[in-house]
């Protein structure tokens, strides 16, 4: 049995089901309790599980992560919410130094099964501090896993996987998708394994690698190119660390051309690593340079004309595909 769910409802359902399944799972963050979360992701949980498992914290991102780590060391599986991914910078040290290194420095004697949920991304009129895509910082740090679902199905399945994973997982949920992504989600445990990409569209001419809110416009662009005779294979990474190298190489060996699209800025966005790895390991398969089409190296402005000027969209992605196909 499956039902139609929004991306946001899929997140909520994953939290609800995991909390029902495992008494060690609890959520904490600002306004997650009585209010149900700034976006409603935790709605109903406070009523169902009470204030000791749905914890309204003071404003203190560093403490929120640190408390989660402490609880995880005693066998709990805390799911911490950053109200916006932008504020993860305030809990940065606890994530990159405390959580990411703990197992290593403990000689393998402990692990830190926390999830940090981070509502990210723009195209929502949020401006500089409610639109950021901070995923690359965490991909750069050993010891962390990073996921970024693009569909309701994955939002639920990856959140479940993240909660059950024994490592710290940063879960980027894209705000633009909350109510705009809708799709069939099976009842119960449809886990989406961490580390496995999804091929969203088959194609033999060009490979497009993307994730998050860029999957939809990428598919739209691929459809347009199809009318022009170019078939694009669209890979949705889903997990950014560890990313699915096999899926990428499989597709590339077929198409010999790769475009990477992301909403994060270009310089040292994930596209940089994917490009470098492809070149290092599959150089002979490339008929064209690996290309990147991303947010420019700037901040996220508020005004609609500015926001739209900076965000990749189906038009600009189609153009990038054309350039690559014509190379």
């Amino acid at each position: 049995m499956s039902k139609e769910l929004s991306y946001l409802d899929a997140i909520r359902e994953a939290l609800l089901e995991e909390m029902q399944r495992d008494p060690k799972v609890f959520v904490l963050g600002e306004d997650v309790g009585v209010y149900g979360g700034a976006f409603g992701a935790t709605q109903g949980l406070y009523e169902a599980f009470g204030e000791m498992r749905v914890v309204d914290t003071p404003i203190s991102e560093s403490a929120i992560v640190g408390i989660s780590i402490g609880a995880a060391l005693r066998g709990y599986r805390p799911v911490a919410e950053m109200q916006f991914a932008d504020f993860i910078s305030c809990g940065f040290d606890q994530i990159v130094n405390q959580a990411a290194t703990l197992r290593y420095r403990y000689g393998g004697r402990a692990s830190v099964p926390i999830v940090v949920r981070a509502p990210s991304g723009g195209n929502v009129g949020g401006g500089l501090y409610h639109s950021q895509n901070p995923e690359a910082w965490f991909v750069h740090r050993a010891g962390l896993k990073v996921v970024a679902p693009s569909t309701s199905y994955d939002a639920k399945g990856l959140l479940k996987a993240a909660i059950r994973d024994d490592n710290p997982v940063i879960y980027f949920e894209h705000k633009y998708l909350y109510r705009r992504a809708k799709g069939a989600v099976p009842e119960g445990d449809a886990i989406v394994p961490i580390g496995v990409a999804a091929v969203r569209r088959d194609g033999a001419d060009v490979t497009l690698i993307t994730y998050g809110a860029m999957v939809m416009p990428s598919l739209e662009a691929a459809d347009r190119l199809s009318k022009e005779g170019v078939e694009t294979e669209v890979i949705d990474l889903r997990t950014l660390m560890p990313y699915d190298k096999d899926a990428i190489f499989r597709s590339l060996e077929k198409t010999n051309r790769v475009l990477i699209v992301h909403e994060d800025v270009k310089t040292l966005g994930i596209g940089a690593e994917l490009s470098a790895v492809i070149v290092e390991e599959r150089f002979e398969h490339l008929d064209a340079p690996v290309m990147r089409h991303t947010y420019p190296d700037t901040h996220q402005p508020f005004a609609q004309v500015l926001e739209q000027a900076a965000l990749p969209n189906a038009n600009t992605i189609a153009d990038a595909l054309r350039r690559l196909a014509a190379y």
């Binding site: 003071p58 005004a303 004309v305 000027a309």
Partner: protein, 327 residues
Amino acid sequence: MPPIKRTKFKLVPEQLLEMFYWLKLIRAFDERLSVLVKQGKVRSGVYTGIGQEAIIVGTCYGLRRDDYICPLHRDLGAFLMKGVEPGMMMSQMFGKTAGLSKGRDSALHSGVPDLGIFGNTSMLGANLPVAAGLAFTYKMEKTDNVVIAYFGEGASNVGDFHEALNFAGVHQLPIVFVCENNQYAYSVPLEKSMAIDDVAVRAESYGFDGVAINGNDVLAVYQTAQGALARARTGGGPTLIECKTYRWHGHSEHDKAFYRTDEELAMWKSRDPIPTFTTYLRERHVLDEQKLNDIEGRVRSTIDGAVELAMHAADPVPEDAVTDLYA
């Protein structure tokens, strides 16, 4: 009628009327913004300070141009009092080029160095170390300038608050910390975010005085602020003034604020700073019908003019998404 105050810092009728004007103007500005949001004309999340105006007026009144203020998200009125033209302020909220940020921000994250206004990031509490840095320069220069730094009671739980106030205490900086304790941080009531009644006691941790006052009494705020400012200007170091108040609207205009009761809101509305002050002025014959009409007329035309200007101001040009990144 409010009790007659024995005041140390005397105010003549013209000054009282000016303060009255500011109260009315700031209230009207926020109320108009609230309407503009509902009409879809302003797209951003607007955080009004309706109900809290006495704090801004009481603390900003009489500041010098070369004093510095560090307001937070609800303190639009402080920008106005410190000299930003209403039309420019409104353009900022509309995301127009004529705003403070060239359309990059629609909130209060932009500052005006010439007017002594710092514009913080969204990160609560992050303005406080910057405020300490500004105050440190006044101390280096041995001027009698001051800094006023604002923050909500919720923000007083953030690490930056602690680090900043501690530094200010060590160096006995010329700074006044103003806590707008409006009882809630978004949906989270005071008692869930701290185990104390008065944020003012926190000053003791940093070696300076803290005082909790009625933040809805503009004269009480003014008198207390003047005392603290005089102390700061003469080398006596920082003061923390906690102003008890209440925000009438939701956290932002999108928030229905179901987490609080109608009774609570009604109780606080009965303590509205504006009618309280109106009565005070009338009974002392400072204000009469004629003057009231004049002031209300000035307020209306100022706001109308600001909206007019903002509505017709130019949208940013797409290129401005990527300019002003480096000096």
